[in-house]
């Protein structure tokens, strides 16, 4: 009897396109990266593609806690923003080269997640969401007040990284396609790491906590510590997304830290399909494309996106990608 444990996110048992679903699940990193590799050629302009990459990564990191562990955080903007500001400030005020600046962004976001997670993890459900929201707003006001460092209301300007200064390579971020693949390289690394974590024993712990916290505890899982660790890892991924965004935009808008940005992660993960590997990218793509298309027609684009969001929550709670996977494997 075959005892191999397929590391699929879905247990595939049906007919139809089940082979495709199981294939994609087995090679999820290759499937996601393959798509993202050709992605800029499918869009009218590359800046939108870069946005989708960055917010896709942000929603992916958020999905570790939300989709895989089943805990709703409403404070992930703090990690996105901390990553952005740490990288931006390092570059603007201290002249740090871009690579260590990115690393600083990721580390500070992780530290932020360690503190906020450490305080919030004692609470559950809606209280957890509220505590993370409140703490992330504290970060927002703190950064807002530190005007000399952060630029306050105007955001941090002048995060200019044009020449990457990689020996032997003449890469300039002024070229939009080069910028896309620059960001893509980091997203690819992150996606691979993320998949590796999901496939690890700790990945199973996350899903066990989502499915049945009591049973997990009886199996010997220290639920509080595991939740905290997942929160920190999630913060690291979101911090990387924020750090890349600072370089992409060349500024750090104060809105990066606003709870609106926290809401974006929730919407993108839900719209794409919570707890699916590719869902966050699909969610980011749908959300940002709609914003892009509808703003041409009307300034009230949020009305349409909101309507679509409600439609999916009510009729397709698995999200776009989750529903597609479900249909294909049925």
């Amino acid at each position: 009897m075959n005892l191999a444990n397929p590391q699929d996110e879905l247990t595939v048992s049906g007919r139809r396109l089940a082979w495709l679903v199981s294939g994609m699940a087995r090679h999820r990193v290759v499937a996601v990266l393959g798509f993202l590799l050709v992605f800029p050629f499918l869009l009218p302009y590359e800046a939108l593609a870069v946005n989708i990459l960055i917010y896709g990564l942000y929603a992916l990191g958020f999905n570790m806690v939300f989709g895989y562990m089943g805990v709703l955080s409403f404070g992930h903007a703090a990690f996105f923003g901390l990553g952005s500001y740490a990288t931006g400030i390092a570059i603007v005020h201290y002249g740090v080269p871009w690579l260590p600046a990115l690393a600083l962004g990721v580390i500070l976001a992780g530290l932020g997640a360690a503190v906020i997670g450490g305080l919030a993890i004692r609470t559950r459900g809606i209280y957890f969401a509220m505590v993370t929201l409140a703490l992330s707003q504290c970060v927002y006001y703190l950064v807002y007040q530190l005007e000399d460092l952060s630029g306050g209301e105007n955001g941090l300007r002048g995060v200019d990284v044009y020449d990457l200064n990689i020996p032997g390579l003449d890469l300039s971020l002024i070229d939009p396609l080069t910028k896309y693949y620059f960001v893509f390289a980091f997203v690819a690394l992150a996606v691979w790491l993320f998949s590796r974590i999901l496939a690890s024993p700790f990945g199973a712990v996350l899903e066990a906590i989502r499915e049945n916290e009591n049973r997990a505890r009886a199996c010997g899982i220290d639920v509080a510590t595991s939740k905290w660790l997942a929160f920190v890892i999630s913060g690291l991924f979101c911090g990387l997304a924020g750090a890349l965004n600072a370089i992409h935009l060349t500024i750090v808008p104060i809105e990066s830290l606003h709870y609106h940005t926290s809401g974006l992660a929730v919407m993108m993960a839900l719209l794409g399909g919570m707890g699916t590997f590719f869902g966050p990218f699909v969610g980011a793509l749908t959300f940002l494309m709609l914003e892009d298309v509808i703003t041409v027609i009307t300034v009230h684009w949020q009305l349409f996106v909101g309507g679509l969001f409600v439609f999916f929550i009510l009729f397709f709670p698995r999200g776009i990608w989750g529903t597609l996977l479900h249909w294909m494997s049925r």
Binding site: R196, R215, R217
Partner: protein, 255 residues
């Protein structure tokens, strides 16, 4: 009343255990020693405090009064997740497994939890020895035909058996079972009792049971609770001969 083997160091000992829920005293000053290697059944009519006693022994709640010792070590108030590594496993009164996972994955997960709780790096499909061990445990509880079935699609009795396989994953010295036959058909009950007897030959088992008849034949010792207090303890013969026990059980109808 105390049988000879109880003179040795007991595996588990409750000392003046009490539990109050608000103004209600569910358990009052129960002191019992559980000898190693024996199958002890906790019995009693409805509302006797069996489940409360079980939940205190298994660490689900901290007691309002008294202490619990495992192999002489005070474990009162130890967090639930430490129990598996101490060597104490339990099954719940209401089936408690991961419904979305297959039978094999359920057991595998429990095995994995003994050594790899915070490993975020190694792909878990590489731990083939864990899958093999999980398969062994499933075979032991009679689920070898259902490795890859989703747990939610298993019959009730099969789910209960699976839960025992999950509890066995930590290779416990002490196995606590809360009404393992609850809601089972007579056939399933017979199979479960057979399984429990087999398990008890290798480890200490403490089980809670409502129906006295079921455990009379297989237990080494019985603990009888009534109104939250210890009414009697001893071998099945001693308990059967106890007038107070007869009165309590006859008063409740024929069990």
């Amino acid at each position: 009343m105390v049988s000879s083997s109880a003179i040795e160091q007991p595996i588990l000992r409750a000392e003046g255990l009490g539990m109050r829920f608000g103004g209600f005293t569910a358990l009052n000053g129960v002191s019992v020693a559980f000898p190693e290697g024996q199958l002890t059944a906790i019995i009693g009519p409805n509302g006797a405090g069996k489940s409360t006693f079980f939940n205190l022994l298994s660490g689900a709640f901290a007691p309002s009064a008294g202490r619990i010792f495992f192999r002489g070590r005070d474990i009162t108030g130890t967090p639930q997740h430490r129990f598996a590594r101490l060597g104490i496993a339990k099954s719940f009164q209401i089936t408690n497994v991961f419904p979305q996972l297959t039978a094999l994955e359920n057991v595998r997960f429990a095995i994995q939890c003994m050594s790899q709780r915070f490993n975020i790096w190694t792909p878990r499909h590489r731990y083939t020895e864990m899958s093999a061990r999980a398969a062994e445990l499933l075979e032991m509880v009679g689920l070898d035909r259902h490795y890859h079935r989703l747990t939610m699609n298993l019959a009730h009795g099969e789910q209960r058996a699976l839960e025992i396989a999950v509890a066995l994953a930590c290779d416990p010295a002490l196995l606590l079972l809360d009404e393992p036959t609850a809601g089972m058909s007579p056939e399933e009950t017979t199979a479960m009792m057979g399984l429990i007897t087999r398990l008890a030959s290798e480890r200490t088992v403490i089980l809670v049971e409502h129906k006295m008849k079921l455990v009379m034949g297989i237990s080494n010792r019985l603990i009888v609770l009534h109104h939250g207090e210890l009414l009697a303890e001893g071998t099945p013969e001693e308990v059967r001969a106890n007038d107070e026990v007869r009165r309590v059980y006859l008063g409740q109808g024929n069990h």
